[in-house]
């Protein structure tokens, strides 16, 4: 089963000066195919949790297992390769490689995986069409709006068919129409490609679309609500 489990995860920043317990014992299990929102006040540890799950940051205590792999046992470079194969990231900003076109950005991770050129091309075009950017494929990020850039980022995260997509406030810089649009795309891909989505957000309209809502307060899970659609 492609699940994410965290057990007693603690992450302390600034252990020497003024320690900040960004995560303070998080136990969580996210199953395959879920569409989960992580919510909570600013500073509650949402970004930190996503980074720890994605192996961008290492927990000080506790275990993180992603798709059966013990994240803590891997070296930094192994983690990079692990992400390349299994995890797609969407950040709040600075997602795209500025010197590459939308199409090349989407192809990029597949290229790192040494997929054949034809497959890369077809998949990139298919995904860009899916996110409604068929007419922007050869544009560089600087020629795209914020919403278009985030859609390219989602397309890129999806391109290598990862098991999980981790998105940290993907809609934070978007207007409500673009947000709704992006959420539609994410939900559809979640259904059709069976990709597990975990995203953090402050946005009530985004929260409304989630099927599971995990609320963090002060680095702890304070509520965990599963809803039908």
């Amino acid at each position: 089963m492609k699940v994410i489990t965290t057990k007693g995860v603690v992450k302390v920043y600034n252990p020497d000066k003024i320690p900040v317990k960004a995560l303070n014992g998080v136990d969580l299990e996210i199953k395959e195919g879920e569409f989960t929102a992580i919510v909570g006040p600013s500073g509650s540890g949402k970004t930190t949790l996503l980074n720890v799950i994605g192996g961008l940051d290492r927990p000080d205590e506790g275990d993180v297992e992603v798709g059966g792999h013990d994240i803590d046992a891997m070296s930094d470079n192994d983690l990079i390769d692990f992400r390349k194969e299994h995890i797609g990231f969407v950040f709040q900003a600075y997602n795209l490689i500025p010197v590459l076109t939308a199409r090349e950005n989407v192809e990029f991770v597949m290229l790192l995986q040494n997929r054949p050129k034809k497959e890369r091309r077809e998949r990139a075009e298919e995904l860009l069409r899916a996110v409604g950017l068929e007419d922007k494929m050869d544009k560089r990020p600087s020629e795209l709006s914020g919403g278009q850039q985030q859609r390219v980022a989602v397309a890129r995260a999806l391109a290598p068919k990862p098991d999980f997509i981790l998105a940290d406030e993907p809609t934070a810089n978007l207007d409500s129409k673009s947000s709704a649009n992006l959420l539609d795309i994410m939900a559809e891909l979640n259904r059709e490609e069976k990709i597990t989505f975990v995203f953090s957000t402050h946005d009530q309209r985004v929260i409304d679309r989630a099927r599971r809502i995990v609320t963090l307060v002060d680095g702890k899970v304070s509520s965990d609500e599963v809803r039908g659609e």
């Binding site: 980074n51 994605g54 961008l56 940051d57 930094d76 470079n77 990079i80 390769d81 992400r83 390349k84 194969e85 797609g88 990231f89 950040f91 600075y94 997602n95 490689i97 500025p98 010197v99 590459l100 090349e104 192809e107 990029f108 991770v109 290229l111 790192l112 995986q113 890129r156 995260a157 290598p160």
Partner: protein
């Protein structure tokens, strides 16, 4: 695609990249031109020394070299001359008889080496005829003609058609003196040589050198030195070697043995180009490091993102090295071409150093230097630039892969 990325990355900061590319190109140009200049100088020095003074090969009686006395002449001159002329690769030979003596005028006297030459033979071996700047070269006409240098003329206060007296010992050991008339003034550009050498006809000198006891030597049979020019200077060692085997009782020396400084200078050409290259590349290393470091530091976030989405450290490292190498590769053809044009142009037309020529000429060089470059140096420079670019990128590339993605992403 990493190639494309690297290529586009270097053009993100066009001005900065162009500045480094320009610096590298100028560096290549300078390395080539300086090496071409140095090679040209050395070659000019060696050529001048060869054609004015030492010639390619010289043959002597071994004792003559030690004692410098007129009695140590080359035995069986006619056969020796024949042997040398029939040696393959030999272009010309001049047999000289030599006496150490004194030249005097009403104004003074100086010690000189008196060389007796056969005018037409000498003209084919050395540049003495071309170097005769006033009057005429020695010929068969007239009584006791002599060539002296401008320097010596000034010192003795004599000019064309003046009379000078030569004093020296003949083979019997008695001092003889004879009057000579200045028919020509020469100037090789090498002051020490010019001040201490005069040229007369060998037949005149031999007539004076032969003591009554050995009058058989009076005509063409007396010579102390055979000066030889070969067709191709690169064969000088093989020709000297085979002459040595043929003339076992004589000492055969190449210009390098006669004038060890020439060998030293020739040997330095390679080192010179390496030294210039190293110095210039060292300067470039810092320029490239600086540029690449800036390129890495202003892209921290992006590099973090690349590692977050799966670009591993080896690839990030490789991308940075590639960017640096590309800067070098763009600059390389420009610099090589500029250098080539400079070398070819100055190689043909020469560069007039007469502003500094006084200094140069007293060192035995021409005032016009023709650049010259061993074609291998272009390859050497190309490899040098490539290695420099790779070396200079290592530190910035290490800096890039030491970034941790989260921290890099958090950097604003």
């Amino acid at each position: 695609m990493i190639l494309i990325m690297a290529w586009r990355n270097i053009w993100r900061s066009t001005t900065r990249s162009l500045v480094v590319i320009g610096a590298i190109a100028v560096g290549i140009w300078a390395a080539l031109s300086l090496t071409g200049f140095a090679t040209g100088m050395v070659k000019s020095y060696v050529n001048n020394a060869v054609k004015n003074i030492v010639s390619h090969i010289q043959v002597h009686q071994p004792e003559f070299l030690d004692e410098n006395e007129v009695k140590f002449n080359i035995p069986d001159v006619a056969e020796v001359e024949q042997a040398i002329r029939s040696e393959e690769g030999v272009k010309s030979v001049s047999l000289r008889s030599i006496a150490n003596g004194m030249i005097s005028s009403s104004k003074g006297a100086r010690g000189v080496v008196i060389k007796g030459v056969v005018p037409e033979d000498e003209a084919r071996v050395s540049a003495l005829e071309e170097n005769t700047v006033e009057g005429e070269f020695l010929s068969e006409e007239g009584r006791n003609p002599i060539l002296i240098s401008e320097e010596l003329g000034r010192k003795l206060n004599v000019g064309l058609r003046s009379k000078v007296v030569l004093n020296f010992q003949d083979r019997g050991g008695s001092i003889t003196a004879a009057a000579f008339r200045v028919v020509g003034i020469f100037d090789t550009g090498n002051k020490p040589f010019d001040q201490s050498h005069v040229f007369v006809r060998r037949s005149d000198l031999n007539g004076l050198l032969a003591s009554p006891a050995d009058s058989a030597l009076a005509g063409g049979a007396l010579a102390h030195e055979a000066a030889i020019m070969v067709n191709d200077i690169r064969n000088v060692d093989t020709i000297a070697f085979s002459l040595g085997a043929e003339l076992p009782n004589l000492k055969v020396q190449t210009y390098r043995e006669i004038s060890p400084d020439l060998e030293l200078y020739e040997g330095q050409i390679k080192n010179i180009s390496l030294i210039y290259l190293t110095v210039i590349m060292l300067a470039l290393v810092f320029g490239i490091i600086n540029t690449m470091l800036m390129a890495v530091l202003e892209r921290i976030k992006e590099l973090g993102m690349l590692m977050a989405i799966g670009m591993n450290k080896l690839r990030v490292f490789f991308m940075i090295v590639l960017e640096s190498v590309m800067l070098g590769l763009v600059a390389m053809p420009v610099g090589l071409l500029l250098g080539y044009i400079t070398i070819e142009y100055v190689g043909k037309n020469g560069i007039d150093m007469s502003m500094y020529a006084k200094g140069l000429e007293s060192f035995g060089m021409s005032s016009i230097i023709y650049f010259e470059l061993d074609p291998g140096v272009y390859g050497q420079v190309a490899i040098g630039v490539f290695l420099t670019a790779v070396l200079a990128s290592i530190y910035p590339a290490l800096k890039a892969i030491r970034l941790r993605p989260v921290e890099a992403l958090r950097t604003l």
